[in-house]
Amino acid sequence: MASGVKPRVKVPKKAAAGEAITIKTLISHKMESGQRKDKEGNLIPRSIINRFTCEFNGQSVVDVKMESAISTNPYFQFEATVPEAGDFVFTWYDDDGSVYDTKKSVAIG
């Protein structure tokens, strides 16, 4: 497991039913591309997050397949519809099999 991985997500706490809200996500990860070389000239093996998903009450909002050309500390911004009160679940899948997730609740009001 890569060290110091910390997901950060920005979601409004309240939304009107059916409203489109903007979500911003960031996760600290070195996203080693597999192209760089160390001091001895050996290739540093690839270690990236290869998939990111966002779901609201079990329904998919976005599912992103990521390649090594995504920058260090992957950032995503997108819009989601909130039909009712519930929870957003954000999940990141690492190359090494680790899964990082975080949850945010949205109230209707």
Binding site: A20, I21, S33, Q35, R36, K37, E55, F56, Q59, S60, V61, V62, D63, V64, K65, M66, E67, S68, A69, I70, S71, T72, P74, Y75, F76, Q77, F78, E79, A80, T81, P83
Partner: protein, 138 residues
């Protein structure tokens, strides 16, 4: 100016390398496009790719793609060692078929976005980004 046998050979090799290299790069991105579209024709319009004209640092280039009515959007950087960047698959709760992220670019090149629409058609857009410092190590 006289060319020796060695000079001539060197020139010929250099020229051959120059013609082969760009072809190899575009071939790998063509393969990625082929895999995404399944060989279907790709149209224009209906998709927007926003990228800076000049990126000082190829390690983090902010880009934004938007294609109303798309099922999925694939972003490609043909000039990178591996052309694939990301594929966004939008679910039923996506309020707009748009996303923004930050990508790595190895050098000045065209960034391309391909969208698969709900009716099964494909559209693309591309944008040239000048990169001052490449972002793929080395």
């Amino acid at each position: 100016m006289d060319f020796s046998r060695r000079d001539t050979l060197g020139l010929a090799l250099g020229a051959a390398a120059l013609t082969v290299l760009p072809f190899r790069v575009s071939a790998s991105s063509d393969a990625a496009i082929e895999e995404f579209t399944g060989g279907a024709a790709v149209g224009e319009g209906g998709i927007t790719l926003t990228a800076p004209e000049i990126a000082e640092n190829g390690n983090t280039v902010p880009i934004e793609v938007s294609a109303p009515g798309a099922v999925s959007i694939m972003v490609l950087a043909a000039g990178n060692p591996t052309p694939g960047v990301a594929t966004f698959n939008f679910g039923p709760l996506a309020a707009s078929q748009a996303a923004a992220t930050r990508i790595r670019l190895a050098g000045t090149q065209d960034v391309m976005a391909l969208a698969k629409m709900a009716d099964g058609s494909f559209v693309k857009a591309s944008s040239t980004v000048k990169v001052t410092i490449g972002g793929c190590g080395g």
